[in-house]
């Protein structure tokens, strides 16, 4: 999905826009779509990207908090990964990756299942299996090798 489609999705739900407003805002909307779809850097594109990123970061933070609270006593990632909040993070896909890596860097935690589901990769060395700190380091190094920024 492009950023423009995502944004249009968010704006179109439950939003009424009068014909006059739509006509007034059309030039700006055109500029936004040019930026997001054609990769042109515009101030509106930047603003939209920042808004999307901030929304994603807040959403991720809320979901992570729910997982921490409701899955604290579960003994397997198999059960934790089935929780709706965890599934939602996996559904965020690549948008979640920098957020997960940023969280891993702050405190090693059990995002490995999500990382594997999203990327289909497994950079965890056999001798590191189960060692949360070492697993986190393997994934962070994978992130750097992949050119990711977080």
């Amino acid at each position: 999905m492009t950023g423009a489609v995502l944004l249009e999705d968010q704006l179109s739900v439950g939003t009424y826009v009068s014909p006059e407003s739509r006509e007034f805002g059309q030039p700006m909307w055109n500029l936004l779509q040019a930026g997001l779809n054609e990769g042109l850097s515009t101030s509106i594109t930047e603003a939209a990207n920042i808004a999307l990123e901030e929304n994603a970061a807040l959403y991720f933070k809320d979901l992570a908090k729910i997982i921490d609270e409701e899955c604290a006593f579960l003994s397997t990632m198999h059960e934790i990964a089935a929780h709706p909040a965890y599934r939602e993070i996996v559904r965020m896909g690549y948008h979640a990756l920098p957020l997960i890596l940023r969280d891993l860097e702050k405190r090693p935690s059990h995002w490995f299942w999500a990382l594997n589901e999203i990327t289909l990769e497994n950079p965890v060395l056999p001798e590191h299996r189960g060692n949360i700190t070492a697993m986190a380091q393997d994934w962070l190094e994978w992130g750097k090798r992949s050119g990711m920024k977080w």
């Binding site: 604290a72 006593f73 397997t76 990632m77 935690s109 594997n116 497994n122 299996r129 189960g130 949360i132």
Partner: protein, 163 residues
Amino acid sequence: MGEEVWDEVVKLELNFPRLTDTAYGITSEATPDYNCIAWAAGDDSRWWEPDPFFQYYWPERVERQYTVRAYAEAFLGLGFELCTDGAFEEGKEKVAIFAAPDGLPTHAARQLSDGTWTSKLGKSVDIRHVNLEDVGGRIYGDPVLMLQRPTAEPSSSGNYAPS
């Protein structure tokens, strides 16, 4: 009792109501570093899980399946053998595997040298509890399999008192 400890106690007893009014004790801080299976096997440095992605530790040559059989095999490889119950026996170390009603293994607990039990509760704390069934219920189901091995050395059952 400090506020954090009180919050932990309230959370524990809400999720494990059978603990209420029993003489259990919190014996560690919360940590995601190891889970109940690892703790029951005597390992507090790794999270044990037969995940299909091969990211977590699972004993070699034991099938990576979320079955009671696979969990039992993990302990058989450590010198345990099947036994019939959790009654305390001098010179024996016992482990119990719990399962949900659908048969999915959910938890493992280890018996201490004084006959009480120790359980790591997910990413939360370790506790010492008097009866095996005290951690059973909605989250962990019930104990379904018991294993034992000769005690190699005395297990510790000290309490941790957070400041």
